[in-house]
Symmetry: C2
Subunit: 421 residues, 2 copies
């Protein structure tokens, strides 16, 4: 089964908006074993859209178009699909009612122009999952003697994603002739390189490759996510949902037993949400004292809904004397073990917090007071006990700060887990 | 002149990396008046790459390939271009020496495998601009009886960008038969909607459309940049660089005279770099007191190289009692005019800063102590004088915090400009 992605919109070609939809779709297709060999961006031009969809149908079994489903005259994805199918667009009055009632639920009246969104190519259907007011389209038809399917989804990412997971992915898997259920689970990791992870998991990947496919199959994939660490994605395929869940559980345990504590979370969790959950579970409050990271850790913590349950606040002691005047640290070199430990203790005291993290260092690009750029001290304070660590980065200012933030949160995470066990 | 973009790499199709290069290239092409009707992602597969490049040459005059120029066996962009041209790859010994000496400058020896990067299709050339160790390729040849040009650049964004601006864009403009020089300047704005800006500038755009092209031409474009405001891009074309600079200066003055103080910066400036520059110019230090924004403002300020010249630090008073204990604010409702003003004064005092910004509010998704989500108070303190403002947002948690950060920095920017005049 091959499926291409066509991202529609002149604003994508002009670089006014970055097309992130096709990457997301590509990763979801890969997870269910569907190949995507070409992904194309095309503008709001009927002839060019028609030629791109035709070409995609010649090369592949399925096409997912994103964008161009709005109500204005620029939005012509519906027209392009109808032209490829060689059929007219028909107004679906039931769909008009549905769109009108969705506007009503939001306390607004549907503008007349939005009736145009209820036009569907003859022989095609609206996608039953419709999170927003724009309906999607699924068109299964014969093209040059072969059965093909074209989907159209809105360009708005969350609407596109709900249609993908709720309808298109299972529909594609069913059309591929498989009645299997496919699901995946992502383990978030921090502290290993991609090659290091691959080495640790090499035997496990060999074992999976050699496994009997009749029992259901499991695959592992590594996804780099830049400053957020590496993801290990487990994908399982089996005849029913219970069997898939069992495979995922089993494989998660196997992977955890191999790579151990570098797994900090699952799926949508991130480092700060995990730390906040651990604090909340243990009834602890948290504060930060940041010099190098300049508020980045506080910002990440407070960007998590519900953070006020555990997060007390921060002192961003960028100027050296603030480390003393507000955090009560003794005077001395500001990038040092003594200073970072005093900052962590000071954060707990000044902010009346149970646990804390602290950072000081030189982000670069230049050195400072004889300390080379990339030199970083981090500390954590738990139950009044401070632990610190020296880090050395050889990267740019932004990454040095980001890596420091996630590294010190990970150090606190590990201490909180140890504390509970 | 039409130019397509081909982004090469299986990791792009699998969504492991987002292709941002083709958007960036699209926006640069648009700025110099070159159309880009199709942009394609294709994996590391020779047959598919060759078919994509051929198709692009049938539809357009030029093709820019990004990625696939590394030294490993996956990197086959060179091979694909040679196959399209119908020529062999030849090892360029001069280029080997150049690559070797670049490795040497970094204190490392070139691995033997990197010699492969010096293979160039017969009749093509290495791009003279080479910021990294990977050479780019420019291949001008006749394809099906028409003159065409194919460029290949590395997928690493900064290497790609230097080759684009230093060589490919001027080369394309020259090939388009124009001897004109094209340049653009971007005005960064905050505080107007896209339709509001379009309305304000409608007459000016009409005037430009009606202008005589013989005098050189100027165009205006609006680029939405999400939480960072709107950009107004002025692009000028004229016979020489001096005439282009004069056109840009003149148009910048015209636009500024119409939209006035909502222009906060130019080109690569952002709101925090502008505020830090104003502080440094006036010999002022700055601190922040953040509740709602939770360190976001401090983080933005400290992400700017050289921020330590003016930035003192911050108190993130997320828990209500910290507003009192650390910032010295009187007890009272934490989302109120009195509180935000006391926070701004407290920031100057606690952090020994000359000017400050303060934020408090409810980011959502839920309300808090009877205050609806999206309710935000901001304040600025300059020379001991505090000014505050109530904002109401109807958006998500992330945007409420981001909009608040840039709005309060903009308020401070305006006061600093007033102060100096």
């Amino acid at each position: 089964m091959r499926c291409e992605v066509v991202a529609v919109g002149s604003e994508l070609l002009l670089g006014q908006i970055n097309d992130t939809n096709s990457s997301w779709i590509g990763s979801e297709l890969a997870a269910v074993g569907i190949d995507s060999h070409y992904q194309t961006k095309v503008g709001d031009n009927l002839d060019r859209m028609v030629s791109v969809i035709r070409l995609a149908l010649e090369r592949s079994d399925a096409v997912i178009c994103t964008g161009g489903l709005g109500p204005t005259q620029d939005d012509i994805t519906r027209d392009a699909i109808a032209e490829v199918m060689g059929v007219p667009l028909l107004l679906d009055e039931t769909l008009v009612d549905k769109i009108e009632s969705m506007w009503g639920l939001r306390g607004r009246q549907m503008p007349e122009i939005n009736r145009l969104q209820a036009r569907i190519p003859e022989g095609a259907d609206a996608i039953p999952v419709q999170p927003g007011t724009a309906p999607g389209i699924v068109a299964a038809f014969e093209y040059e003697g072969e059965p093909k399917v074209v989907y159209a989804v809105p360009g708005v990412p969350w609407e596109m994603q709900e249609m993908m997971t709720g309808f298109i992915l299972p529909d594609l898997v069913a059309r591929s002739g498989s009645s299997d259920v496919i699901a995946s689970r992502t383990l978030r990791t921090w502290g290993q390189s991609e090659s290091g992870l691959a080495e640790l998991l090499a035997d496990e990947i060999d074992r999976l490759d050699a496994a009997e496919p009749s029992e259901g199959s499991v695959t592992l994939a590594f996804l780099a996510s830049g400053i957020e660490g590496l993801k290990v994605r487990i994908t399982a395929k089996a005849p029913d949902a219970a069997a898939v869940a069992a495979l995922l559980d089993d494989e998660e345990q196997r992977v955890r037993s191999i790579i151990g504590p570098i797994v900090f979370g699952l799926d949508d969790q991130n480092m700060e949400s995990v730390v906040l959950e651990l604090c909340a579970e243990q009834g602890l409050t948290i504060g930060t004292a940041e010099s190098l990271t300049g508020g980045l850790i506080a910002e990440r913590l407070t960007n998590t809904p519900g953070s006020s349950r555990a997060f007390r606040g921060s002192v961003i002691s960028y100027a050296t004397d603030i480390k003393t005047s507000v955090l009560g640290a003794p005077e001395g070199p500001s990038v040092s073990e003594e200073m970072v430990e005093a900052m962590a203790l000071g954060a707990c005291k000044t902010l009346d917090a149970d646990v804390s993290v602290a950072t000081t260092g030189v982000a670069g690009p230049d050195g400072w007071e004889g300390v080379p750029p990339g030199t970083v001290w981090i500390a954590t304070c738990v139950d009044g006990v401070v632990e610190s660590q020296l880090l050395r980065f050889r990267t740019d200012r932004m990454r040095t700060r980001q890596y420091t933030a996630i590294t010190v949160l990970d150090a606190l995470r590990r201490r909180l887990i140890d504390r509970a066990t």
